[in-house]
Chain length 291, copies 6
């Protein structure tokens, strides 16, 4: 016997499932690239929440592709090994020894995400841009300063990703690439996510960040932008309304949206299940950049 | 900005989606046979609810197969055409003219369900057991009384159903079969659903009924049985605890459960979204008969 | 030992088979749409003859698709149910109740043809234009008179037909369609056959009629036209030489021939095996309309 | 207008096509091995008749496989080249030089049949048992007499034949095989046909001969046997009722019938279209040996 | 224990295998047409060497296609049968009787090559241009002189070759073609090889000849040309530097190179393994004609 | 012109290619698991030699699978991070922090091999046993001593490897596994190679070691064993003739050979191209263990 209280809950359940329905249909067999980083990677509860969301996406026939950075772990290990962490314009100055540590640390993070997903019954494979020569780069040129092994992506080879998607694996990718001499380079994870999404002709690209989205006035929480077109975004940049830290992220969003990714999202990785809720609810959350 | 109130709702949404997750995974690409009848067919709101549930199942990769009867519509048209509706032991006495009306009425109901599903974006095809010689029967023998063209299923030819499932159609089936001379016969819809589920090796068979499930004591609503094994069900029958109307339904449940259908359910078709909630929630609803 | 008499017969047999050979080769794996109606549907002997012809076509690797009307059966049931049969310009005025009866009657005819074919070892499936949203329509506009649920085809969705043809089923289709709100409409069967043939890029479209073909002078049997081009047909129409009843049929022939159907035939459904003889003999029979 | 005379003919045509129908269905996609030789090969009119029959079989979805000998052509060329034709027990004594001529002559006959079929629109490929190592042999042992390069088949490798059948070619095979050292040997064409039919699990094996079939009393034409079982055939042999020339042919028939070929036929190659008539008429012709 | 001597050899082995590596990669799954003739066909040791080379090519995933002539064998048999061998402008004057002998002799050579390859474990099939109507021709017109059944290729039907390559057979082809009336004609083997290579879009076409390659000055062995472009070749012809015998061969090379065959080679068939060495070593041997 | 000196070299080249031929045929499409470690990993010249060998194998259609350890690199990084390297019975005592470093170091080695192969044109993917839950383990039990996160393989899930092999990638695997709680464990690389070879039903398993093979008397280089059966190997062990360091390696060889791997090899990784020479030469090198 179902009592009144239950009955209301039951009705809510049904309604929520029914709200989610059109989105499950819409995204079936579609690729969604997720840039995973920030608090959502550091906080174990949030991490579990993201991993579960990915498992849900996979289970309803969506193809998630994860791109992640290493963030504070890299700095920790660089210093543990008696080296200095130096940055220029936001990019880590990466000599040969540092690059080796970057690779090892990213590798550890990468396979950690893989086993986490596997424990939830999701088939996952950890890759770097070396695998199948997936990410090809050239040395980043910036103000004539030599920042070492930091690369700009010149080509994304999607064959390996597609091989794995076809057999229902979730590719988990760390942003390391190879130049034409097969030397390895560090890549900005946002740039890697954006370029991979473009090459895969992804339906969606979602950045999990430590902010609720873009603000018109970043001192005013109420100025959060829900949806913004590429051209309006470019206008905001020209008007200097996007502050320093957000500028490169916004540029990666714009590049993706201009090059065929239908919907690009800035989501709040500090909120539980923000990925799930963005995809499966009518209102969405965070900021959507569209063409 | 998400306010506190929303925030709770948002959390609920996430939790409900997460509860549903293991079931979506579990039933992916599985066949679920649904016997559709009773109030759920007569009441337009309930009908819409069932159709939406079927659409949801389909959209998450489950293969629903619908079997329906014609119920009161048949009686109405038989009488409109100046004939008498007579029954023996619960079976409609079906002479040749009646059989013709039965087929026309079931055909109308059948194609009505098809267009309803199509309007929800579900690809559906209406079939009778004549199509592809799907249901083969022999004349039912009952107490040496001639009840006319009423058949017992001797064989279910699943080839056509599988052709359609493979291309993502929902088969909607009305219970008419052909004997060895290709004469047509009326079949009890519960029996048809049960035999089709067995032949398709369905994961689930769900009967939408005008009751909450089986009761230990049918005068006492609190005696609803949540789960019962085949052997306990048979014991209840031997002890005479299953009342007349429910007896044939229980026998169809038992036959299905004994012949390879993993889970057989009696659901309350008078409740909105009972199908959805049975499949996607941990507790389930109604009565489950299992082997 | 083969005697002289037999010997002649034997030679005839061989010659007839040899005459049929190039046509079997030519039509292998090709789609032939057959509009089935009139006497060939009412007379049981003729019906058997058509069904056997379809079975022969199927058995030699041709893909027949049957489109049928309901003709006199509809009028009978409409009147049995106390309604009036009214026509405007040859179209049945179809209110909501009439439409329901039209669907039921066509459904009965449809499944009757299916079981007839099945009894001959042909795999058949009965469909209406609702199944898989095969026939989409808009309300027919005619002289500002409201003739109710009579539709003009706006789109033929051939996916379901192709799914069935691929697995060697003969689709048997009754001409009911859905408008954009998924309301059902009655369609002229000749128009349905013509549009289906065009969408399937059929090799042939054959109308089984109660006439030997088109006559230059319909009072003179000797004026039967064997072959006529689309442009000559249009000239005859402009010259007023096609009489009222045949005019819409001729227009359906012309539309099909102009839109990619290689050969359109008017056959005499009152002659046994006219379909077979048209396809497998050098001379053909009836009238051929070609581009 | 169809006149009375035509009308009768038309009816005959229809009836003959209808008689052929069940056989076209029955043999669709089935393999039929035809041993081609004797008058049917020497007389140009009969040859054309056989080639047309093969084309008809192919066009209705049957897979014919032709095995032929070289007969009188070989003797002619052997003698043209100043060698003697000698036989022992019906087998040509084949030294190395003779074998070379045998191969060249059979090759000429073989490719001649191929171009004849191609001219009728049939895709054909001429093979010897060397191709794809199709026929493997060992030297025939017979009464301790060395008859040279005459072989007994030890293995039929059907892979090449199946490759060709799958892409709708008619394999035309001359009976030359390879021993374990890849030396070539002449093979009796009847034996080759029989072994190939067994290995292909052919539906039918038909020998085109210069007789109407087997006779109980070979002086009495009226004693022609229509059907005979393997065990009755063996009885006839034991009773000495099969005369010398027919004995090896009967033995090849029996071996095929005992090893899985459903129907083995002796047909009169001197009659036009005997192959066609055997396959497509109810009575069949010649003698059928069945298990 | 490996001693010093072995150790050197071992190193050589490794180096040679490593040199061959890029070529094995490069030609994997590519088609190489080989015109086989001259000494390489007459000398048994050279023949064995060519056959082994073909086997090696096949074993590393290359698809060789062999085209051969009959050369001196034809003249021998023509004369053995009391006819005269006459030539006009290098073409054998071929009457109907001669054509029959040509076909028989080529057939013998053809099947001989097949059994040779089979003995080396290579699956081979012997074909003439009649099989599958592979080579279609028209009568060669030359100075208004009737040279009989000598044909110019008008079309190469590659379907049969592709069927066989797909299932890993080596096609061995003798140059006989069919005109539009399916009469057979003799074809120059170099022309056949060139046209087949063009139609197959072959990666390479190699002519095994009795010369080391093209010479700038054919009296001076040191003037052997290693590589030459099509345009330079045409210049040499215009300048009259290609002598009579080599002219038609050069023209076949040029036609192939101009019509899509990437590399055309003249190789010395009198040297052991020239085919192997050309393909698997950096320097190559003989003369390469490229576009 | 080819001079005498060249001519000898040319002949050698041909002979070496011809010797390699049967092996290329034999191993086509076969899986060969290579345990890569020791000097062959530390010395850059030897490493290049192994990588080139793998590329050669791949290019001729063999499917290499690489399993590697981390050896001295792990100890270096453990100590760099201020921890102690302790061993029990040859197994590294692995606490949680050590395990993290093990994973990072192995990851670095792994992706380094991948980019090396990619630079040679080989498609490679670096995996650990976490990816696709490929290696499942339980904690190793050894003398009741807790050696931490050291695992014994309980199951090899080959699905991911097969997905990659099918699309022509070389899987490069480091020996880390997951227990039933998805905790990670270090695995002995020899054991991992052996178990992976068994599960893949590999044709060959080759251990690249710092020895020439097994010696009957390990003080006597001339006592190198070329081939030894499983039962003789077991006898040697029982007789105590296998010394400590080689014992576990021998046991891994025996387990593989007993469980379906046709040929298991101990090769000298200090010799250039030992892998290539073992596979492509008649004599082979090192020690072969066979069933």
């Amino acid at each position: 016997m179902i009592d009144t209280l239950n009955s209301n809950l039951v009705e809510d359940k049904a309604n929520i499932l029914i709200e989610a329905l059109p989105y499950i249909q819409k995204f079936h067999n579609k690729v969604i690239v997720i840039k995973y980083g920030g608090s959502a990677m550091l906080d174990e509860t949030l991490k579990e929440s993201v991993m579960r969301d990915v498992a849900l996406l996979k289970s309803v026939g969506i193809h998630p592709v994860i791109v992640h950075g290493g963030g504070k772990e890299i700095t920790k290990w660089v210093e543990l090994n008696g080296m200095k962490s130096e940055f220029y314009n936001g990019f880590r100055i990466t000599d040969s020894d540092t690059m080796k540590i970057v690779e090892m640390v990213l590798g550890g993070v990468n396979k950690g995400l893989v086993s986490h997903m596997e424990s939830l019954g999701v088939k996952a494979v950890g890759l770097s841009g070396k695998d199948g020569s997936m990410l090809r780069v050239k040395k980043k040129e910036i103000d004539n300063v030599d920042i070492g092994f930091v690369g700009d992506i010149t080509k994304v080879n999607t064959q390996l990703i597609n091989t794995l998607l076809k057999d229902d694996y979730v590719p988990v990718i760390c942003p390391i690439g190879l130049d034409k001499n097969y030397k390895m380079y560090n890549i900005n994870a946002d740039e890697a996510a954006s370029e991979i999404a473009i090459s895969l002709e992804a339906e969606k690209l979602a950045f999990l960040t430590d902010t609720e989205g873009f603000y018109l006035n970043f001192n005013d929480e109420s100025s959060l932008i829900s949806r913004i077109s590429v051209s309006d975004s470019q206008k905001l940049i020209r008007e200097g309304k996007i502050n320093g830290g957000m500028l490169p992220k916004m540029e990666n969003c714009i590049r993706a949206a201009k090059n065929g990714v239908k919907r690009v999202h800035i989501l709040d990785g500090r909120k539980m299940h923000s990925l799930l809720l963005e995809i499966f609810t009518k209102k969405g959350i965070g900021t959507l950049i569209y063409r």
